[in-house]
């Protein structure tokens, strides 16, 4: 497994497009999320030149996981789209807190991998650890994420201390929530 990270121009040639295609295939085609797309790519207003990506690739160079990192002192998904998940608190606005979004760890070339089980695989745990490390290297002391509630199990399995920022909101029958993740402490369970 190979991991790459950086802003768009720091990723190797063509990798950003591969990530956009991967996100389209997973979030739009497989999971049916209603997202902005263009030419089989899933991109939104938070995919900017300063956005940091963490990408997992298999031995053949195929993308099998990705994550998106944004500092909360610039526009980010939770702050702009889902502030109601913060239980009445204002969205964080500091370079010390980064948002983790578009986290995905499904290997389309592995028949045992599935969208439904993507939060439980060793790949997911490794990608999460790489993402938190990457955010820390950019100055994050804490992360916040808006995710399906299944990500809590992944956080526990990966050894991270995390807690809810507020109650889940039901979207299309599925609960999503905001979650704080500590970068400097671990809770081995």
């Amino acid at each position: 497994m190979n991991f790459s990270s950086g802003v768009t121009e720091e990723l190797s040639a063509g990798l950003f497009k591969k990530v956009s295609n991967y996100r389209y295939k997973l979030f739009v085609t497989t999971l049916g999320w209603q997202l902005k797309t263009q030419n089989d790519m899933e991109l939104d207003q938070f995919d900017r030149p300063d956005t940091v990506y963490v990408v997992a690739q298999d031995e053949n160079g195929q993308v099998n996981g990705c994550a998106r990192l944004l500092p909360t002192n610039r526009p980010y998904l939770l702050g702009e789209v889902f502030p109601q998940l913060l239980n009445g608190l204002p969205p964080p606005n500091t370079p010390d807190v980064w948002e983790l979004s578009r986290f995905a760890a499904m290997d389309f070339n592995n028949q045992t991998s599935s969208a439904l089980g993507q939060f439980s695989s060793p790949l997911a745990i490794q990608l999460l650890q790489e993402s938190v490390t990457c955010a820390s290297e950019h100055g994050a002391k804490r992360l916040i994420t808006v995710s399906p509630i299944g990500v809590e199990r992944l956080l526990r399995r990966a050894g991270f201390q995390a807690h809810r920022a507020g109650p889940p909101m039901i979207v299309d029958g599925h609960p999503i929530f905001a979650c704080w993740i500590e970068t400097n402490t671990s809770l081995k369970i």
């Binding site: 439904l116 809810r164 507020g166 889940p168």
Partner: protein, 129 residues
């Protein structure tokens, strides 16, 4: 009104928490992530999640996983794994007791709730008995 701290936690004593009335929000079968590892899963066992909240703002949220033997209609779900929440319990001096101890106390609270029948009925209705 319960205060919510800047770190997202609602801090309160266990006695205060016991006085909070929790209501069922949603329960479901596992879709995004199994609650047990494949090696531990038994074919007739189904797993899922349940979410409970209080009815005031800011809102207390507690969620936990459950497991149930699908082959027996009369069997109720039982809690598995640790609960997840936005609660940090405090001691008599007002200090945090920490996430691990809070989790253990939440388990005790959940196990006193009459949740299994509520979840079972919800699952039966949501997914069709």
């Amino acid at each position: 009104m319960l205060p919510v701290s800047i770190d997202g936690y609602i801090r309160l004593s266990f006695a205060k928490l016991q006085a909070v009335s929790l209501v069922h929000l949603i329960s479901g079968l596992d879709e995004n992530s199994p609650a047990v590892t494949p090696s531990a899963a038994i074919a007739t066992e189904i797993t899922g999640y349940t979410e409970w909240v209080n009815t005031s703002i800011p809102t207390i949220t507690i969620g936990w996983d459950w497991q149930m033997n699908a082959a027996h209609n009369h069997i109720l779900p039982r809690r598995i794994n640790e609960p997840r929440s936005n609660i940090m319990l405090i001691d008599s001096t007002g200090r945090d007791i920490g996430p691990m101890k809070t989790m253990i106390m939440l388990e005790a609270l959940i196990d006193e709730l009459d949740w299994p029948i509520v979840v079972r009925n919800h699952i039966d209705i949501r997914y069709g008995k």
